[in-house]
């Protein structure tokens, strides 16, 4: 009984890691711009595809000689994917959101633009790569550790550790660096930020770099764990991560991190006791209940500091 509980917790932490990494991106952009970047889930998908192409290339799929072992390919794929995914995120900001911001568009239009941008990413992928799914290469050999009757893979440990380390790194940036201070300042009072000699656009671009590179990271980790890629893979996980961010209190990175893990734990625990087809129904009912009790989310405070 206890062993199966522990096993479930480990699985929950793995899923929670995906949700957390993605939710952090939602919450960062929301905290700084008050924009719910609904394209963010699709950025995760783009990240997974970028990781697919980079690792395939390094493994010699496209005529390039393969000379690297799998672990080295992975070690190269992670930073490159994070880089290219943040290029996509920043481009989205430049092309879609910044022009609207310049014109002082109502937030509603920006949110609709974000939804459309997501659809463009999905369908653009479909157009370019076709409907067939891609099989993500196995980069590291699976090692299973056994503790009593609990099984842990090296991948699972890696995913959970990566999520935790990313959060610690992000928390450091937000609380200790000047650019992090600027992000918090924008979320509190955008008006006064340029008066401090701070170029707002630079801070916004930095925010998108942080958010999208974590989405890219989530994309790789997800593809390593569930190696089938399709253009719509980011949709459901993106929506769920968004809900996790809201439950945690959107705009607060601690909230996004905790919210992701809470969602992961609720989902896995529901499946442990009920038929798996009830998972989303029961899980989201519980989240709805949390929001009814605390409408601002777990870490949210009504209308004050965000991020």
């Amino acid at each position: 009984m206890f062993d199966s509980f522990l096993q479930n917790i480990l699985n929950a932490l793995q899923w929670g890691s995906f949700y957390s990494l993605i939710a952090l991106g939602y919450t960062l952009v929301y905290g700084v711009l008050r924009l719910i970047n609904f394209a963010h889930g699709d950025i995760v998908m783009v990240g997974a595809y970028i990781a697919f192409f980079i690792s395939s290339l390094l493994l010699g799929q496209y005529g390039m000689p393969a000379f690297l072992p799998g672990w080295a390919v992975l070690a190269l794929t992670i930073p490159l994917t994070m880089f290219f995914t943040s290029v996509v995120g920043v481009t989205l900001e430049r092309v879609a959101y910044r022009p609207l911001r310049r014109k002082g568009a109502n937030r509603l239009y920006v949110v609709i633009t974000a939804l459309m941008a997501g659809l463009i990413l999905e369908n653009g992928n479909l157009l370019v790569l076709g409907a067939s799914r891609k099989k993500f290469p196995e980069l590291i050999e699976k090692v299973v550790y056994k503790f009593g009757s609990v099984y842990v893979t090296n991948l699972k440990i890696g995913v959970i550790l990566t999520a935790i380390l990313s959060f610690i790194g992000l928390h450091f940036i937000i609380t200790r660096t000047k650019v992090g201070m600027a992000m918090r300042a924008i979320s509190y009072d955008k008006f006064a930020v340029p008066l401090m000699g701070i170029p707002i656009d630079t801070v916004i671009v930095f925010t998108f770099i942080l958010g999208s590179s974590m989405a890219g990271l989530a994309g790789i980790l997800f593809a390593l764990s569930y190696p089938i890629l399709d253009p719509y893979m980011g949709m459901s996980i993106g929506w769920k991560a968004f809900i996790a961010a809201v439950v945690g209190g959107i705009g607060d990175i601690r909230g996004a991190f905790a919210g992701g893990f809470i969602l992961g734990i609720i989902e896995i625990m529901v499946v442990a006791f009920f038929p798996s087809s009830y998972r989303d129904l029961i899980a989201f009912s519980i989240l709805l209940l949390i929001l009814t009790i605390r409408p601002t989310g777990l870490f949210g405070v009504a209308q004050t500091t965000k991020i």
């Binding site: 002082g104 000047k178 201070m181 600027a182 918090r184 300042a185 979320s187 509190y188 009072d189 008006f191 006064a192 340029p194 008066l195 401090m196 000699g197 701070i198 170029p199 707002i200 004050t304 500091t305």
Partner: protein, 251 residues
């Protein structure tokens, strides 16, 4: 030295025929004024006269904070800043604004607020000296340096707004209603600190509704009424002007 003495003196700030509009409504009808190096100049006038609009236009804040510039020019040390981005007005031209309503970052500590203002300053600047200077001017900020700034009193928040402007490395300080909502004793402290700053060489442009306070403090003043400058001159003379007396000093 000999050359600079013979050259015509360039004012620190020159506003030339500034005309700005909110949509079709003109907010400033071509105003002109000067601020010389080392001076304290005040813009006085009633609510809605265009004082804050003038400051926001000088800081080049984008719409909707500042209206569209329709005509005229703004020169800092003889160089036009019309096309300058707001953060560059601070970074390159060293003009800072302590805005009306203070706009401090309440979710940051006092120290973080001050540190943030150094965002674009070169590493070669002696920041430690500047922090020391701010804390010397406003000892209350030093006492509360680790406190979240939204927990400060109104007067302390105003001190922080001024301190923050100083930390941006400015040589020209614009103040928008620094007396607003301050207890008399706080106000006295604030203006004493500002006087001291000016004696150390800081050029100040002060916008105030409290005309008596402003004219007592400044060297020169301009009276703004519905987007036009209708009177200007030596602060002491303006104080004695019967029109100003009647309309703004309430006698």
């Amino acid at each position: 030295m000999i050359n600079s003495a013979s050259k015509p003196k360039v004012p620190l700030l020159e506003v030339r025929n500034l005309e700005v509009r909110y949509g079709n409504i003109a907010a400033l009808h071509g105003i002109s004024f000067l601020v010389d190096q080392g001076e304290i100049v005040t813009l006085i006038g009633a609510n809605g006269a265009g004082k804050t609009t003038t400051l926001h236009t000088i800081t080049r804040l984008p719409p909707p904070e500042a209206p569209k510039l329709f005509a005229g020019d703004i020169l800092i040390n003889g160089q036009s800043i019309i096309k300058t981005e707001p953060h560059d007005v601070v970074r390159r031209f060293h003009c800072a604004l302590a805005p009306e309503g203070r706009h401090i970052f309440g979710n940051l500590t006092v120290t973080e607020n001050l540190t943030l203002a150094t965002f674009s300053r070169p590493k070669s600047d002696n920041l430690a000296k500047d922090y020391e200077h701010v804390f010397e001017l406003f000892p209350r900020l030093a006492e509360r340096r680790h406190q979240r700034s939204e927990s400060l009193s109104g007067g302390e928040q105003q001190m922080l707004a001024v301190g923050r402007a100083l930390m941006s490395g400015c040589t020209f300080l614009m103040l928008d209603e620094p007396s607003m909502g301050l207890a008399p004793l706080m106000m006295y402290d604030m203006f004493r600190a500002l006087k001291k700053l000016n004696q150390e060489g800081m050029t100040i442009l002060l916008v105030e509704q409290n005309a008596k306070l402003a004219l007592d403090f400044a060297h020169r003043g301009y009276l703004l009424e519905t987007g036009e400058i209708i009177l200007s001159g030596n602060a002491a003379e303006l104080l004695k002007n019967p029109d100003i007396h009647k309309a703004y000093l309430g006698h």
